[in-house]
Subunit: 342 residues, 2 copies
Amino acid sequence: MKANRPSAPTLRDIAEAVGVHTTTVSRALNPRTQNQVGADTVRRVRKAAKDLGYQPNPIALSLRTSRSRTVGLVIPDITNPLFPPIVRGIESALEAGGYSGWIVNTDNDPQRERKLIESLRSRQVEGLIVATARLEHPLLAELHAAGVPLVLVNRRVEGIDVPCVTADDAAGVSAAVAHLAGLGHTRIAHLAGPQTTSTGAARARAFRHAVRDLGLSDEPGLVVECAQWSEEAGASAARSLLDARTDVTAVVAGNDLIALGCYDVFGERGIDCPGDISVVGFNDMPFLDKLRPPLTTVHVPHHDVGVEAARMLLDGIEDPERPARSMLLPVSLVVRGSTAPR
Amino acid sequence: MKANRPSAPTLRDIAEAVGVHTTTVSRALNPRTQNQVGADTVRRVRKAAKDLGYQPNPIALSLRTSRSRTVGLVIPDITNPLFPPIVRGIESALEAGGYSGWIVNTDNDPQRERKLIESLRSRQVEGLIVATARLEHPLLAELHAAGVPLVLVNRRVEGIDVPCVTADDAAGVSAAVAHLAGLGHTRIAHLAGPQTTSTGAARARAFRHAVRDLGLSDEPGLVVECAQWSEEAGASAARSLLDARTDVTAVVAGNDLIALGCYDVFGERGIDCPGDISVVGFNDMPFLDKLRPPLTTVHVPHHDVGVEAARMLLDGIEDPERPARSMLLPVSLVVRGSTAPR
DNA sequence: CATCGTTACGCAATCGATTGCGTTGCCAGC
DNA sequence: GCTGGCAACGCAATCGATTGCGTAACGATG
């Protein structure tokens, strides 16, 4: 059974109504070819199109032009609260440009990612916004070499010149460390995100720089890498840290989920936060103010990240020769209840 | 610039390689028509297709067949934590059936919804999963009359026979009321969701039944309707309730966000939860265990809701004459820290 | 009047897959 | 040997929009 309306008007219907050929109808309705059709004919064609309720068939358009006015949004998992606001930002900018986005969830599985991207490309998506980049990412390199317009979100990739939109990780981590130092903390630990991601590496580097700049302890044992950007991995790393030492009074977590993992471990070990140990997260995902203690975190304007990524991609589709440029969005520290004076 | 790979093999390439017509290639590759082609030819065609890395062009397929193997997912807003797990459930069931889903966010705006659905339909989506139903919903009635396969999620619509997948609202609210009664509460209020939605109405009705069945006070003032399913509307309704009376010792909130609104009002009025007033939410959205107090709520298996909705829709696409059937998924009460003995 | 240039429009093909109908070849039965 | 039926395959059209090239008409100029 056909799911589509049985009698959608086509160019042919308009052509019959006006008494011209379908070529003329097509040209009259297309702003780029409209100058090839007489003004009176354009007027009559447009009127007929409106009267008949004509809408171009995007499928036919795609088949003929190999374009679809759609792009692919490649994210790890829409249930991660970080992504819905980004997706909404992307969507609003795409919509303003007459585009739509296909969302695919890779679950951080490279094989699944490849399959999903193949599927997107067979649907003629005109570019990809990718939020799943690893520092070394062969598939992205292939796509880039093939001329597929790409924009990365939240992470960079090495070796290829792809535009990306990220938060200002260095400024955010620096502000977090400065805030804790201002509260009198001198032994501050960092639960870093995976060092295979640019974000994990950048925030860890910024952490080391910040503690050095402030003359605080920068011994290597104060940085523990988490296997994933998740609460569970954060908890695991927090346990490792606290098993190894008892002198830490504050933690800068790679992101909010990792910070939640700290909360879990504090709970199981009777550690008071922020009385015994202060915690700062990163990202300001929803509902952090509802936690107890409300989480101090680095606010990232996620919706704006999405908007800028989509604009950047549309620019790249419009002008493929355009030099790749990246964007750092400003962050801000949101002080809530998880940090206190030492 | 074309975004697609420049040399994707077509049926024509296979036909040339094997020395048969493209019709034969098409039929050999299609399990439904394969019996019309000789076994040896099928073997040779399949080999050539594999060697050439042939993938059917979904755009061409859609244009010819008016089918797309895609469906539309119509939700209010992906940033509402309720929806990502539902979407993931939908996605996994669609994928198993060889389908993909287009997500559109209506922001609860009927005009936007109509425009987005038109757009989906012009892309030949084969059906719609709709999570935005109001009790009276002219657009859904039109779509149903036009034979568009539909499945509703979380809500019903009146007057048309459309299959839906909802949680067992009555059982959930009944369990919440019974739990509170078991703790000794006798004056229990209900902050109901909008009565223009089936969910709002069903939960309010179930509340009234439950308190009557348990011989508790059922005066009308104990039920306050929220204008939206949101934290802000929940807070507003909680203020109205507490302005009007001081004898309430427990609240059954229409959903978790409304319950968060209660938390907000308790905070601003120095009310202790659960010492002064207990609260039960509905849905068990993510991170409720991280709140202080951790929210007692009715757990809804969202992922399963999504899976069942997608299966139901695929069934309806496969067999349009299939009688509409609906599904109630079982819920369970999750007792955390927001409820205590009176 | 003839010629040239420009504008407006139509023809036919294309995109890549599917599908109804017709043709050909082969085999079995009379 | 002839006829009929069936299997395998090819032809041509279709889906709906775009696009290169050609043609016709008109106006301006010599």
